[in-house]
Amino acid sequence: MDGATIRPDLGYAVVLAALAVATAVLARATRLGVGRQILTASARAVAQLAVVSVVIVAVLRSAGYTALFVAAMLAIAAATSARRVGEGRPAWWVAVPLAVGTAPVLGVLLATGVVPRAPVAVVPVAGILIGGAMTSTSLAGRRALDALEDRFGEYEAALALGLTSRHAALEVCRARAAEALLPGLDQTRTVGLVTLPGAFVGVLLGGASPVEAGAAQLLVLVGLLAVQTVAVAATVELVARRRIPWRRG
């Protein structure tokens, strides 16, 4: 597969840098307000992947290190989500949806042996699942808080009618938060037609047959839906119970 892999040579570096800068310039020109963030995020990605590329070899050699690595993934995902959802002050409770979303699905996949209990299989699957949980937790949390902000009158009207605070909040924010599941659903719905996601390509590049690659991808997609659904449901519950603090009221 030598000719089909990506080689990080000088040409690669130039193209990558040019792409990031061009994107940032475009973001600034169109006043999307994220020009700087695109550059810093890209730079971070370079540094992080450089470090990971070095340590991954050591990690993949030991089950203990693998567990530690997965735990670190969870912690970082929680920190990222906490800041996204909480804005001013981090909403640390988002760690709960991340954990209750990821742990059972990963557990089932490993316990049944569907995903081989080898570090080289566990790390990427855990990464994809935790990443998916993070995205949908952040999105669901923000949308739920947005809904409660825009529709505070509806929440108050429901309270005044005698609904509990939790019930009134659920009525207002549940549907909007559930929209966090749409990207995952669409990805699953269009897989193979619009997108050939990472796992498929990775497994293929790794030398497996297309059927094996498809099986791996399917597992990831269905697993992701499970993880994200649990994460969104848990996030909505935490918002309704005000564990994740509201922006007003």
Binding site: R151, E154, A157, A160, G162
Partner: protein
């Protein structure tokens, strides 16, 4: 709709205590945590800071004052959407200030809210029938098979087409949406409706229609209103009693005629002299306007003594040290001012 009017009165939920007013606030305070405080020295927004009000059955009490003086916070306290940080909220003599969600439930039926912005208070994904039906179901007001019929009755009471119960809020105009909000409030047969600027967001031409509806509800169902508005003309038409708020306190309150006729508090005088639609009511010559100088002080650090002293033209030394309390100053009027005084009546010529 006389039938529903009688059934409305015939269902006492909370026992009436003889001699007790329907609703009374006693020295109610709502201090919100403010930014910039520390645990040792917390800072608070004193949104409501010692408000006392009384409302009798079937009465209408107007609440007026500049933006930020605590009117909406008072409304939310009365409806117990907020738990006060001090004082008592007495409903038929029972203090509901700190009741739990469960214990509060019977009182939820008694006190309802109408909001300024009907759009944000109606769920866009639910039909009008569902929105009003939820109110009916929450308190099991009618048996399930009567629900649609009752929703249609309510729509008719508020002047909407009963056949439109399957429509969504966005299919209605602003004034109609406010009527939906009113129908939802009526569904539980309340004794008190707190209306927080119910017509401010509506076109002027629609405002009068919605005010007529509220007037009808008060007449036919004997509902008492706490009515908040910027428009002093509307308050004058609708309310029996009026309370003027400034920076979290009631500075003057009394009967409509006393307050609009002979206000004694300088702030009330300034407010009335500046109301454009009062001047034109009788085609009187334009009145002198009292121009208030300076900004409203922050509710985080209100002035010592009388809160109005930083803008008051009658202020003296005593005003900075001693806080005035509400005391009778004229027939039917209570004023919190050390130097209550009638203004030259030509300034307020509207009686």
């Amino acid at each position: 709709m006389t039938l529903s009017a009688t059934s409305h009165r015939a269902r006492p939920q909370v026992p009436a205590v003889p001699g007790e007013p329907l609703l009374a606030l006693r020295d109610v305070r709502m201090h919100f945590p403010a930014a910039g405080g520390t645990r040792a020295a917390p800072r608070t927004v004193k949104a409501v800071d010692g408000v006392s009000l009384t409302l009798h059955a079937g009465q209408t009490l107007g609440l007026v004052g500049e933006s930020g003086c605590g009117k909406s916070t008072t409304a939310r306290l009365i409806a117990r959407l907020l738990e006060p940080t001090g004082g008592q909220i007495l409903y038929r003599g029972v203090d509901i200030a700190h009741l739990s969600t469960r214990k509060l439930r019977p009182y939820r039926r008694e006190i309802q809210l109408i909001f300024q912005d009907p759009v944000s208070s109606l769920n866009p994904r639910h039909t009008v029938g569902t929105i009003i039906g939820t109110a009916l179901r929450t308190h099991r007001i009618v048996p399930p098979h009567r629900e649609v019929a009752r929703v249609q009755e309510l729509l008719e009471i508020v002047g909407l087409d009963p056949d439109h119960h399957g429509r969504y809020p966005h299919e209605f105009s602003g004034g109609q949406r406010q009527r939906i909000g009113i129908a939802r409030a009526l569904a539980v047969r309340p004794k008190v409706i707190v209306a927080d600027e119910p017509v401010s967001a509506l076109d002027v031409s629609i405002q009068a229609q919605v005010m007529n509806l509220l007037e009808k509800l008060r007449r036919e169902f004997g509902i008492a209103f706490v009515f908040i508005a910027h428009d002093l003309g509307v308050v004058r038409q609708f309310c029996d009693r009026v309370a003027v708020m400034y920076l979290g306190k009631v500075v003057e309150s009394g009967s409509r005629d006393a307050l609009y006729g002979t206000p004694m508090h300088p702030y009330a005088q300034a407010l009335l002299s500046a109301a454009p639609n009062l001047a034109t009511t009788r085609g009187a010559p334009p009145r002198a306007r009292i121009r208030l100088v300076g900004d409203v002080p922050s509710p985080v650090d209100p002035p010592t003594g009388c809160r109005f002293r930083t803008r008051c033209w009658r202020a003296e030394d005593r005003c900075a040290t001693t806080e005035p309390t509400l005391t009778p100053t004229a027939a039917g009027l209570n004023t919190a001012c050390h130097f209550p005084e009638r203004l030259d009546p030509s300034w307020l010529e509207v009686a």
